[in-house]
Symmetry: C2
Subunit: 205 residues, 2 copies
DNA sequence: AAAATAAGATACAGATGTGTATCTCCGTGG
DNA sequence: CCACGGAGATACACATCTGTATCTTATTTT
């Protein structure tokens, strides 16, 4: 029953990753308030000192953890051959990748915003940098080429309408979307807005 | 320079309202974490005991405060004579009423969700009850009568698309929307989706 | 193999919060 | 006009976190 093995010591990158992974996990199931140095050290099965040796304070650790976490599971744009397929696939992928992340999204933005003055948009921007929205651009460019979308209708707002609605659902419910919800967003909102033909894109009566 | 007046004592409802107002204010400018019994008592210029006499713990006080705060500034649906006007006016009103509230929306949902297990949607539902979405129904019904909207296109998702996008912006940026953003949502997304005529509402290629 | 490096454990002082328990004294109602 | 409910002020025990400082000990590096 020797449960107390001395446990070989991790070092350098390996240890750092373990800490960030633990931090991310902690953030997910406890939220911003439960993200304490103690808790993270504990979950990583290491010691507070090890953390303080790398990051000066809780905030830095949080920053590093967010960057680490938000950059997992990033992937190139899908290519199903149709705009509809690409959009659905893309949202579906986010949805899976963020099944665990879902609670977090609402969680951390709260108190974190209050303390840091950063908005969720800020954090996202900082963490994802230029990569943000890259897939979408590719998907849309291809769709235009195929004649599935009218470039004139692809205003800034319309381009992001699907992701925005997706994210809205995620934030409001703190849970992954059903597949139907994803399809609904694409079929009832996004596609009708970008489909070529018929009358106007934007503008009023 | 007698700044230390004995300050006449408030009682009953008056005092309770003062506490809730203080709590709401506290929540708005400090967020969930700053919402401590001490802070609220302080801001209300009363004493911790007074609060504990009414609510058993921080959580109950928070509940009461949210209900109190979210029910301010509620108003009937606007009636400008056109769907476009109604929608814009409606969003604009929310926007004003929530100029202060904006930071809060993102703020409180965070840690609060984590601690309570409630989602933002839950809180909204609990606080607003049946009143939620009432205005929108009226606005849309009138629009259908006038022939400005095609009832067949008014799916559940499409009906709420404008508010959803509005709320999404609010949450992401923790700040009121610009007027242009509101108009954009209505003109580029909502109206094109509900306008009668031309091809299909929902469904695919 | 010795020396340098960093992991892992505590221990500490300080700050801040909670919820409970008193105590004084204002102001209203009998 | 006086008794009593409740406002307002502390004080306390307890808990939790932070950031710093040691100290021991396992691995690397030389």
């Amino acid at each position: 029953m020797d449960l107390e093995q001395p446990a070989k010591r991790r070092r350098g990158q390996e240890l750092e990753d373990a800490i960030l992974a633990a931090g991310w996990a902690q953030l997910i199931d406890g939220g911003y308030n439960a993200f304490t140095i103690d808790a993270v050290a504990d979950k990583a099965e290491t010691s507070r000192s090890v953390i303080y040796r790398r990051w000066p304070d809780r905030d830095s650790l949080l920053d590093a953890t967010l960057t680490y976490g938000l950059n997992r599971d990033r992937i190139g744009p899908p290519d199903t051959g149709s705009l509809r397929g690409d959009m659905i696939e893309s949202l579906r992928h986010s949805n899976l990748a963020r099944a665990e992340l879902a609670p977090l999204m609402s969680v951390f933005m709260g108190a974190y915003y209050a303390d840091s003055g950063r908005t969720f948009a800020d954090v996202r921007e900082r963490a994802l940098g230029a990569r943000a929205g890259g897939s979408l651009d590719v998907i849309l460019a291809r769709a235009v080429e195929r004649g599935e979308a009218d470039p004139a209708k692809l205003t800034r707002r319309v381009r992001t309408v699907a992701v925005d609605l997706y994210r809205h659902d995620l934030l409001m419910n703190a849970a992954p979307l059903s597949d139907e919800a994803i399809v609904e967003i694409v079929d009832e909102v996004f596609l009708p807005l970008v489909k070529p033909g018929a009358e106007a894109g934007p503008h009023e009566t």
